[in-house]
Subunit: 249 residues, 2 copies
């Protein structure tokens, strides 16, 4: 297996050490080799290293320390602005201010992000994805001055690791695979597939610390709650509207 895939860990503590410009460039170049819809390359990557801007991004990303520690913050955006401008210059009427185009561009951006992360790890750097990007998209748009038809879909912090975490546990492969068609889960199969995870000391301690009965409650009641999800769903849909991606008529 590709070493960078096999050894991936999310890194949340970084050394105070810059990334050489030529190294960063080759890592970013790896992103552009990813598949892209119709070879349109409908994405942009914002490379932020300035401390004032990083502090603003840190506030957007729920003040997670790694955003300040890591020397480089990469914001991967769905971007139909550049492509639409190219169309208009060429008297070709762009029709990309709609939800399908947003989602197409978001897929492009995610493939670029994963190539960049793997190449960074291949070069000895550490990375961590920030899921807060979609929650706080509106503020990030303001900080990074993203124009219409540009929406941030994920953020990656990048730098030299200052920790050595072990591999993260995963469900058994069979939990996420389906042969031929989707094989829905019985209560029994769910219990089996999650039992190894639920028995880990690491998770048992988290359940205890949270004063809850089980791990599922930690997720549903503390980490990823319905209230937050509903709140941030509205925020994200409103961002898509404001950035011009919801003209579906």
């Amino acid at each position: 297996m590709i070493e960078a895939i096999k050894n991936h860990r999310s890194i949340r503590k970084y050394q105070k050490k810059e990334i050489p410009a030529n190294l960063l460039e080759e890592i970013l170049l790896a992103g552009t080799r990813a598949s892209t819809t119709g070879n349109m390359q409908v994405y942009s990557v914002i490379v932020t290293t300035d401390n004032v801007l990083k502090e603003k991004l840190w506030e957007c990303h729920f003040k997670q320390d790694m955003v300040l520690q890591a020397p480089v913050i990469l914001t991967f955006c769905a971007d139909f602005n550049r492509f639409s401008k190219w169309c208009m210059i060429n008297e070709a009427k762009p029709g990309y201010n709609n939800f399908l185009s947003f989602f197409t561009a978001a897929i492009d951006a995610m493939l670029v992000a994963q190539n960049v992360c793997l190449e960074a790890e291949n070069k000895g750097l550490g990375i961590c994805y920030l899921g807060t990007t979609t929650y706080m998209a509106e503020k990030i748009i303001n900080v990074l001055k993203l124009p219409e038809l540009v929406v941030p879909v994920t953020t990656v912090v990048l730098g030299y690791s200052d920790e050595e975490p072990g591999l993260t546990d995963r469900l058994p492969l069979g939990a996420v695979l389906h042969h031929e068609t989707y094989q829905n889960y019985s209560e029994k199969s769910i219990k089996q597939l999650f039992s190894e995870k639920e028995q880990m000391e690491f998770y048992k301690n988290i359940v205890k610390e949270n004063g809850l009965e089980n791990l599922a409650q930690v997720f549903a009641q503390k980490r990823y709650t319905r209230n937050d999800n509903v709140f941030f769903s509205k925020a994200l849909l409103s961002v898509l509207e404001k950035q011009g991606f919801m003209n579906n008529e």
Copy 2:
């Protein structure tokens, strides 16, 4: 650079040759090493090899020959069904039937897909992403029997290549990078960034074949038209609704 990243080509012609089960398993295992939101693994991969099902998928994917040729079709899905069932069994109320959760799960699925593609290429196989997945999501859901809270986000055909295409052109790296904040494009910069592409014989011939004035018109008027985008935007939003991902209140 990781060889699989550097040498990636989309493969559209496949040999009639099966993929050994243990090889396929290691490739799929690489997918599960990708970052995943909160380690929830809110994705599923449907592995389709049955000829009757493949023919149905071929119809969904605009009858592209490679869907019939390639021995394995992988449909990557955003999946909050498994996780929500786990919550319900544990008396934890799941709150994932909303747009944010769909998008979170879609990001998970895309990272898995890209790991799988790179590992497949690392093992000497060819791959091609099918953008038709989001256009035809409703039909794919029927063929693959996807339950509520499961939506296909991309499809990859996988097999032994029967062609040797060259590397695909890309815009200069500067076209997709922005330093510190988004640097919007002037008409002059757009012209510069796209000029190399526009001058390629390959694209000049396509423009000529289509009887149009320039490459941008090929995209906006033939390949990715406003009418299609609007039509498929409505279809995709309706699929999100039907699969239970639009309860944002």
